[in-house]
Amino acid sequence: MLRYIARRLLLLIPVILGVALITFTMLYFSPGDPAQMTLGEQAGAEQLEQFRELHGLNDGFFVRFFNYVKNAVLHQDLGLSYRNRQSVFAEVALRFPTTLKLAGLGVLVAVAMGIPIGIISATKQYSLFDSISMIFALVGVSMPNFWQGMLMIIFFSVYLGWFPPSGFTNFNQMVLPSLTIGTSTAAIITRMTRSSMLEVIRQDYIRTARAKGQKESKVITKHALGNAMIPIVTVIGLQFGYLLGGAVLTESIFAIPGVGRLMVDAIKMKDFPIVQGGVLFIAVTFSLVNLIVDILYAFLDPRVRSQYR
């Protein structure tokens, strides 16, 4: 198992290099001059040249990429922001916990809603509860995130005044963003849980458990859920990665100072080092979450566990 984890961590290196190369290339070829964008229309030629020299913009593509990787590996230095000449690493690291918290809370909301509803729907298939929750799940996946966020602000902040419409420091402020970001994931997890449970409770070993005289509630929680969890955990992991990247809209609507908003602002300003840094942070986190999911498989399923030995 430890060898497996070590191997997976080593595999992260090419993945991250790949992500870096792709973002770097896309930003390199994107139109517009960062120097001009940052310094403004009235900047003189000398100023522009100075800026380009400072950020190494005059070098060729490969030299720039090589320097970027070299600095990142040797000095944990992801360059300086064009705009305020702050360390990109520090800028992103400062906001990253907020985004992580937002995505984490979103997943938590989704799991807390999706798994129980999915289980009840599966055990009472075609019941009223099942139909209603499936309709809500359909609405949940179909509703665009930003639109839902705005509706929630209008309803809960403006009309009812229960929760503040912006910020992300205290619990009250976290409620609406977490619900907003978690809804579609909750819907996906509900559907996944339902279908996975439906498949498992038709298995022979569930009948065996019943034939032992086990209580139906125990049959579901002890025998069915464990087996149904494997595809559910996969979806939770993927959704977490999706939420990290997708936090951008939610952060913008609720004015949350996270990586998503930082990146959107940076894209507008052609502040490439910030964009690059943000993408790297998210990519690394996503990869780590995937690794955790794979380790969870082994924890959940002895058949997988024996393969890792």
């Binding site: 298995q203 022979d204 070993y205 065996t208 019943r210 034939a211 032992k212 086990q214 139906e216 087996n227």
Partner: protein
């Protein structure tokens, strides 16, 4: 009738009700299992053998399955009328079941030992350590070293899994063991081992057994009584030797006739002509009449009643109802 059956099924009807129509899986089925005996339940695929077994456990999947009418008497109580709570005390404790396919009958994410222990913990008032000890002993009883207690089903072969399933079923020393084609999914060599094991355990534990099979060889080896099933009903119920010597029902005669004889040189097998009827659309009268070589006019109209030939032998066939006294059900 001198002895009292341990389990007595009377005129049981089970239907599977779906949007597409009603499948009449069990129709007026009568069956009696006597203490300490092995009853073979024989029939083609789809004859309703498994549904009969599940009815005894009250585990017919509902929906779509419904027990429409009939009684399943066990110790003077009707299993069809018991509450879920009362049934749970019987399942796995007094009546256990071995399922057909050992490959899928065990939970893949629980150790085999824990799966055996689960039943013991449920039905016997013992602490965890004692239950673990008993589960380990059960493994030894079925011929698996107890060191393998903490292994998972995927680490076992098919025959070993079936042994584990048997250990689960016998862990609480049940009065009745229902074995639903316990050897169908196994290799022939393993089949013999498993059958021998069940036979020995049945004697050691003094268990009555319902052996569901479509293998007349298995029946000849292990059973005391035999019930022949066709289209959801038992058409002949007899002591084994009587049945093998003097099969009465045309279907039973056809079954024995269809076994090829090694000593005779035959060019063709002798199957029973025709197919099992569609259970959503059963023939009127006797369900076997379209295939029956002796079919009479009455067979198309009237479902035959039980004709008792003697204490150990009855048959549902109009051929015999004329000259024997008709029993009152």
């Amino acid at each position: 009738m001198s002895r009292k059956p341990l389990l007595d099924i009377k005129n049981l009807n089970v239907h599977y009700i779906t949007h597409e129509g009603t499948t009449k899986a069990i129709n007026d089925l009568n069956l009696a299992l006597y203490p300490g005996e092995t009853l073979g339940l024989v029939g083609e695929t789809g004859a309703g053998k498994t549904t009969t077994a599940l009815s005894m456990m009250q585990l017919v999947p509902d929906p779509p399955g419904k027990i429409i009418s009939g009684e399943i008497l066990y110790h003077d109580q009707d299993l069809t009328k018991l509450s879920e709570h009362e049934l749970r005390k019987i399942r796995g404790n007094q009546i256990s079941m071995i399922f057909q396919d050992p490959m899928t009958s065990l939970n893949p994410i629980m150790t085999v030992g824990d799966q055996i222990r689960e039943g013991i913990l449920l039905h016997q008032k013992v602490d965890m350590a004692t239950a673990t000890k008993r589960a380990s002993d059960m493994l030894e009883v079925v011929g698996i070293p107890m060191e393998r207690y903490n292994e998972y089903p995927h680490q076992f072969s098919g025959g070993m899994k079936q042994r584990v399933v048997i250990a689960i079923a016998l862990s609480c020393n049940p009065e009745i063991l229902i074995a639903d084609e316990p050897t169908t999914a196994l290799d022939v060599t393993i089949q013999a081992q498993v059958l021998q094991l069940m036979e020995n355990l049945k004697k050691d534990f003094n268990t009555s057994m319902l052996m569901i099979t479509h293998d007349l060889g298995v029946v000849a080896n292990v059973c005391d009584h035999v019930a022949i099933m066709y289209a959801g009903t038992v058409i002949e119920h007899a002591e084994k030797h009587m049945l093998y010597r003097t099969p009465k029902h045309p279907y039973t005669q056809g079954l024995f006739g269809s076994i090829p004889n090694v000593e005779e040189n035959v060019d063709r097998l002798k199957p029973i002509m025709g197919l099992m009827p569609d259970p959503t659309n059963l023939p009127t009268g006797c369900t076997f009449h379209p295939r029956c070589p002796h079919a009479m006019d009455i067979c198309q109209v009237e479902f035959p009643r039980i004709t008792r030939l003697n204490d150990e032998h009855w048959v549902r066939c109009h051929l015999y109802s004329a000259d024997e006294e008709v029993s009152h059900e």
